[in-house]
Each structure stands twice: as C-alpha cells, then as structure tokens.
C-alpha cells in the first residue's frame, strides 16, 4: 500500500493517532519509572512503539519507522526479561519519544528533520542495551475476577454490615462495584429489614480465589457468591511469538469505542443548539400566551427535549482534566532534574470534567503556576533538610467541582511567600505607596500585578516577572478567578476557580429602565428591595446590609439609560473581585439559562459587558460583568475624590 502522497487525510489521521500514542507512551514511561518491573506497563510501552513503527511505515513516515525500530527492539528485550529498566533507559526513551514527535511534525510540515539528534540517541540506547542489566524478577500475576454477590435476604437481621466487606475487598486490589436493584419489590411489599440488593464486582488482584471467599465468610450461605475463574494477565515466562502478536494487536487494548470529531463541528453543533434553545423559549412564550392546551403540551415536550439535547451537547465537549495533568508529570520531572530538586507530583480529581475550551485555555496558565512552584516554591533537598522537611518536595495538582464551577489547586510544600517581602518589593517597584496599609490578601494580590517578581535570582525556568499577571489575565478571560494563600515555611496554594463551560451560564434576568440585562447568578448573594425615593434621597452611595456598608452601583445611571419610573427598586448584592457591591435595578425577573453569544470584535473594548444573549421574545440582553462594573465604580469614585 502506497499511501505516502495519495491519502493526505489518512496521513493526518495517523498523525493524530501517533500523537495520542506518544502521550500514552509518556505516561507509561513515567509509570514505569515508578515501578520498573510492571510487566503490563512494559507491554504498553512496547505496543505503543510497535504501532508507531508499523503504521508509520505504512503511511510513508519512513524516518519515524526507522528510528522507532531500535527502541522497539530494546523494549522487546525488556519485555522478555533480558534487559532491566533503568532510569537511564527511561530518560533515553523519553528523549526518543520527543524525537519521534519532532520527526512527525517535520514530515507533516515538510521541513528537514534533525536526523543527527536521532542518531546520537540511538547510539546511546544501543550502548545501554549492550551494557545490559540484571533481568528483573518475575512479577506477581494480577488476575481479573468477576464476582457476583447475592446476599441472603435476612442478612441484616443477623447484624451483618456489608460496607466493611467491600472495603476489605478493595484492600485486595482495584475494585469496581455495581449494585443490582432489580430485585427491589414495590414499596408496599418491601420489608425494611431485608436486603434486596445484589452486587456485581470486578476485582483485579493477585490474591487467590479463596482470599475472596474469606472476605464473605460470614455472609455466604453456600450459594451467595459466584467467583468467575480469572484469566492470567501477566506472564512471567518469555513470550512465544503467538503471544507476542496477540499483545501487539491493538484489539488487546481495552479502550471504550469512540469517535474522533473535529472541534469545529462540535462548536457548530453547540451554536445550533444555542439557537434552538432560544427558539424554544419563544415557542414556550407563545404557547403560554395562546392559552391553547395542545400547543402548551407540545411546547412543554419540546422544552424537555431541548434541555436534554443541550445538556448532552455540552457533555460531549466535557473532557476529564486527567490528560492535562498527565502532561505536567513530564514537565515537573524535567524541571526538577534541571534545578537539582526532588519533587513528587501528586494529582487528585483527574476525572473532573471541564469544557474542552476551558481545558485548552487553562493549560498554559497552569504550566506557569507549576513552573513557579517548582522554581520558587519548593526548596533544594539540602535546604529542605535544614528546615526539617523531607528532602523530596510535594506538588499537588487537584481538581474538584464546586457548584457550576471547577476548582483547580496547585499546592506546594515549599518555602511559602513572605508578605513582608512582597510588600517591600512592591514599594521598591513603585506599585504601592510606602505607607499603604494592606491586608494579607491584598498583599498577595500584588503578585498578579504587571512587572512584579520577587525571585532573587532570575533562572531559566521562571522569574522574569512576566507571568503571574498574564496568568491572571488568561484566567479572567475564562470568567475565572485566581487566589493565592501561603504560609511562610510551609507552602503556597494557588486556587483557580473556573466555569464548567464557556457556552452557557446561569443568569439572573433583570430589567433596568426599558432594557433587559443578564447578571451571572454565581456572583449574586442576595436580592433586596427598597423604595426608589429612599435610595435616591441625598444621592446615597452606600446601603447598610445587616451591619455592613455595601457600596451601590446605580446601573441606570451607570449605563446612561433614561430614568425608570418605578416606585421601588431592587438591589442585587453581589460578590465581585473588588468586594461586595449592590447593583440597583428596576426589576429582577428571574432565572435565565443563558446561551452566551460573543460580541463582535468591534465591541471587545466595551467595559462591563461580557457578552450577549437572545431572549425568548427575540430581543437581546447584554450579559453584565460584575467585576468590571465594580472596578469602574471604584475608579470613578477615586477620580471624583481626587
């Protein structure tokens, strides 16, 4: 098959596949470094190389195929136990992986690849192979068990508790549990003390089947437990050619079937669904006005389907953040090596899902934060030992959900940030007045100001003072926030708060004069009502809310709209970057699931507005940016005072 020039699409498809394989390869290599005798991971590395070589040759990527051949051979030796995995081998393979990436990109873009670099890499690998190493001891074999547990109904009447059993089972290995509720009777026949549930479990464990039976010894009455005999997963013996072929076949990888779709198509789909949601709102409105039952019925059904369609479409764009986290393993490993530090990267909540757009745009700011923690935060092993800490620093990347937002935390256990030092630096740089009284959080906020850097020595890794301000800007562009807390000597935590998706926000629809606006509901703390005359009396700028003075922003005046005539006004108390603010509107209409439409490039400098949305009646409402509005109000007050 000569697919070199005739099938550009297929070649591109190969490139995409190869990039995925390289990502997987990198993850496998790092895992292998942690556990050099894991046969399964060795198999993964080998298979990735094997596929890249095979497909590469088929699609005319001859450089890639030729280069990969030798590395594949090396891992064949590792697989059969004739070569040990050493840190040196891992480093060389990682470098080779980068080189394969380089070869791929060079072939695609038609530039001349750096073949000399490849040659020297191969020479180093051959040398490592020749010097050999002790063959690793055979690994214990993990087995896949399928366990079905149907407890006797009277189980609880004997005082049994199933939770500890599941915990005990989890102690044996990786466990997935599914509960089967099919046997639950209708409520009127349900005996509250009986157990109607049964469980289907998959356990991957080196333990013998007897160990599993032992776990259930008190609750099994002879026929409650079915354990399906496992197939052996890892072979300690040298692979035969047939086994080898089976291991290399892509079908051996248990990945769920999936489809590759270009992101543009998804964006189009989201756009269309957005239009549909708008149209559907119109339909509902019309149906409600028409008073015809039949139409109301159809409108209701359409509403249900539309919201399902919307949620489904949104979920297609949601990706677990794991893949992004995995990229940083390599980053941290390399940076730590470069700086002579020992750092362990721990990731938590990798399965947290985020909109693809958010993930793409958060990757770079995160790189910055990680570089910063590795370079400035975590100390050298000697310094750490002196401070009474373990020599190996710990960097934690954690993601979690919080309402309609996602929190990403970058935590290090390094030297922390000294507020006094930050303050001194800010005064020196002329960012603040020497007599300014600032709270700790205000001082930390200075870190994100343009032209700020506390690094005593500028290193190649970070610390040119361009960075944190860019990070903040990028995060804010995503409608997110960034915070930092730090305890000197104990470490620093950067917290990013990001919206789940860029396309839809929960909004609060409000009316100011004759116009509608949408306010992001996540920031609204409460809605109050006051008489308009009261508010305007004496041009009050503040409102006392439960003993706290809250500055007011009269949107009507602020947005230069003609004065409304309502006798009463409503006030949204909102949490903004500049503190609590009260926004005075004429009427709060209610919840509005807002499909965000970006304003055209002409309007990108408009302050206080982050987008627009189309309402049910076809009219347009602007989405207000509370943070910007509050900031403008503060600036204006400053100007007036000056």
């Amino acid at each position: 098959m000569n697919g070199a020039d005739g099938f550009p699409d297929r070649r591109l498809a190969f490139c995409e596949e190869a990039r995925d394989l390289l990502t997987d390869l990198e993850a496998a290599l790092l895992q292998l470094e942690a556990d050099p005798r894991d046969q399964e991971t060795i198999g993964r590395v080998f298979r990735a190389m094997h596929t890249i070589k095979g497909s590469g040759a088929m699609f005319g990527f001859d450089d890639v195929a030729a280069f990969t051949h030798d590395i594949e051979s090396a891992y064949d030796l590792v697989r059969s136990g004739r070569l040990a995995v050493t840190p040196r081998l891992i480093s060389l393979t990682l470098a080779s992986r980068d080189h394969i990436h380089h070869l791929l990109e060079a072939t695609v873009s038609g530039t001349a690849p750096d073949l000399a670099a490849g040659e020297s890499l191969l020479a180093a690998i051959r040398e490592t192979v020749a010097s050999g190493g002790e063959a690793p001891a055979p690994v214990t074999t993990a087995r896949d068990y399928s366990i079905r547990f149907v407890p006797p109904p009277g189980l609880f009447e004997r005082g049994a508790n199933l939770l500890p059993l599941f915990e005990e089972l989890r102690g044996l290995g990786a466990l997935t549990i599914e509960c089967d509720t099919a046997a639950l009777p209708p409520l009127d026949q349900l005996h509250p003390g009986h157990c109607y549930l049964s469980w289907q479990m998959r356990l991957r464990s080196p333990a013998p089947p007897e160990a599993i039976r032992d776990v259930f010894v008190f609750v099994d009455e002879g026929d409650c437990l079915t354990i399906t005999e496992p197939a052996e997963l890892a072979e300690p013996t040298a692979p035969t050619p047939e086994r080898e072929a089976a291991a290399a076949a892509p079908a051996a990888r248990p990945t769920p079937s999936s489809l590759r779709v270009s992101a543009t198509k998804l964006d189009e789909l989201i756009n269309i669904v957005g239009e549909l949601v708008t149209m559907q709102a119109r339909l509902s409105r019309f149906a409600a006005q028409s008073g015809e039952i039949e139409i109301a019925h159809i409108a209701e059904e359409t509403e249900r389907l539309t919201s399902m369609l919307r949620d489904n479409t949104m979920s297609i764009r949601m990706l677990p953040i794991e893949a992004t986290f995995a990229r940083y393993r390599r980053l941290v490993r390399d940076l730590a090596g470069e700086l002579g530090k020992e750092i362990e990267l721990v990731t938590e909540g990798g399965d947290t899902e985020l909109d693809k757009g958010v993930i793409d745009q958060i990757a770079d700011p995160l790189v910055h934060l990680i570089r910063n923690s590795v370079d400035h935060g975590i100390e050298s092993p000697a310094e750490r030992r002196e401070a009474g800490k373990p020599p190996c620093g710990r960097l934690v990347l954690a993601a979690s959900h919080s309402g309609s937002q996602v929190l990403i935390r970058v935590t290090d256990d390094g030297r922390g940030i000294h507020p006094a030092r930050v303050r001194a630096k800010a005064i020196e740089k002329g960012l603040i007045d020497a007599h300014a009284e600032l709270s700790e959080s205000e001082i930390f906020a200075l870190l994100f100001r343009t032209g700020f850097s506390t690094a005593a020595a500028v290193s190649s890794v970070s610390g040119r003072g361009v960075g944190m301000d860019v990070v903040k800007r990028n995060v804010e562009a995503l409608r997110g926030t960034i915070d930092v807390t730090s305890t000197p000597g104990q470490g620093t935590v950067f917290t990013l708060k990001l919206p789940l998706t860029l396309a839809i926000i929960d909004g609060l629809l409000v009316r100011v004069a004759a116009q509608h606006f949408v306010f992001p509901v996540a920031q609204v703390l409460e809605c109050l009502e006051a008489s308009t005359a009261d508010l305007h009396c004496g041009r009050r700028e503040f409102l006392e809310v439960r003993g706290q003075l809250v500055p007011l922003v009269f949107l009507e005046r602020f947005l230069r709209l003609s004065t409304g005539s309502g006798a009463r006004s409503q006030i949204l108390i909102a949490q903004t970057a500049a503190g609590h603010f009260g926004f005075v509107v004429d009427e709060v209409i209610g919840d509005h699931k807002t499909v965000i439409k970006q304003l055209g490039p002409l309007y990108r400098h408009v302050e206080g507005v982050s987008g627009a949305t189309i309402l049910g009646d076809g009219s347009i409402a602007l989405i207000l940016d509370a943070d910007r509005l509050a900031q403008s109000a503060v600036d204006e007050a400053g100007r007036r005072a000056a």
Partner: protein, 120 residues
Amino acid sequence: MSKTILAVDDSASIRQLVSHTLRTAGFTVIEACDGQDALDKLKSPVNLVLTDLNMPRVDGLSLTRAIRASTDHRYTPILLLTTESEPARKLEGKAAGATGWLVKPFQPEQLLATIRKVLG
C-alpha cells in the same frame, strides 16, 4: 468516639485476654460472665456482642436469640466464640441470628480482624 464491645464468657481468663486485646486496640469493653449478665448489661449502648457458647444460666445461643428478639439490639452484630470440634453449632448459631464466629483458640490479631470485618 470509641465503639463499645460487650464480651461474654464464663471463663475469667478468656474475658481478661479478650478485654486486654480490645482495649489496647482502642475499644471500650464491658464484661459479662454469662448470658443473663449480658442481657442485664445490654441496657447501656453496645456496638458489638462477642459471646462464648457454653455458659451457665443463659447460654450463647439463647443470648443470641434474645438479642435478636429485642428492639434495641435487633441489628447489633454478634460474634460467637466456638471450638473447632463443633461445626454444627456454627450453623445453629447462624440460625439463631449470629453475625459471625471466631474459632478458639485464636490469636489477638484474628480477633481484631474479625471484629473489624463486622464493625467496619
């Protein structure tokens, strides 16, 4: 708060051994010398009952049945201490409502492992 275990045995030495092991592991232990004594002491809150089978006055099986028939301790786990020679008693114990059993003689670690299995 530490969990409370009621240890029932007519042999003072066994009671002592059991209590010592459990207290060292952080449990609160109430001792009873037979089934009747146990039923009296069940008026205070108990998370688990550990009982011998052969005892004067009320034996282990009757104690188990009485506990299962009560309102307060219907779902409290009960562990029986049996000897290897009586597998039939094990089934009897189960039928009476015992949660599990422990075969004498046992090591302290076995006792704790078994208790963790039912108490979590």
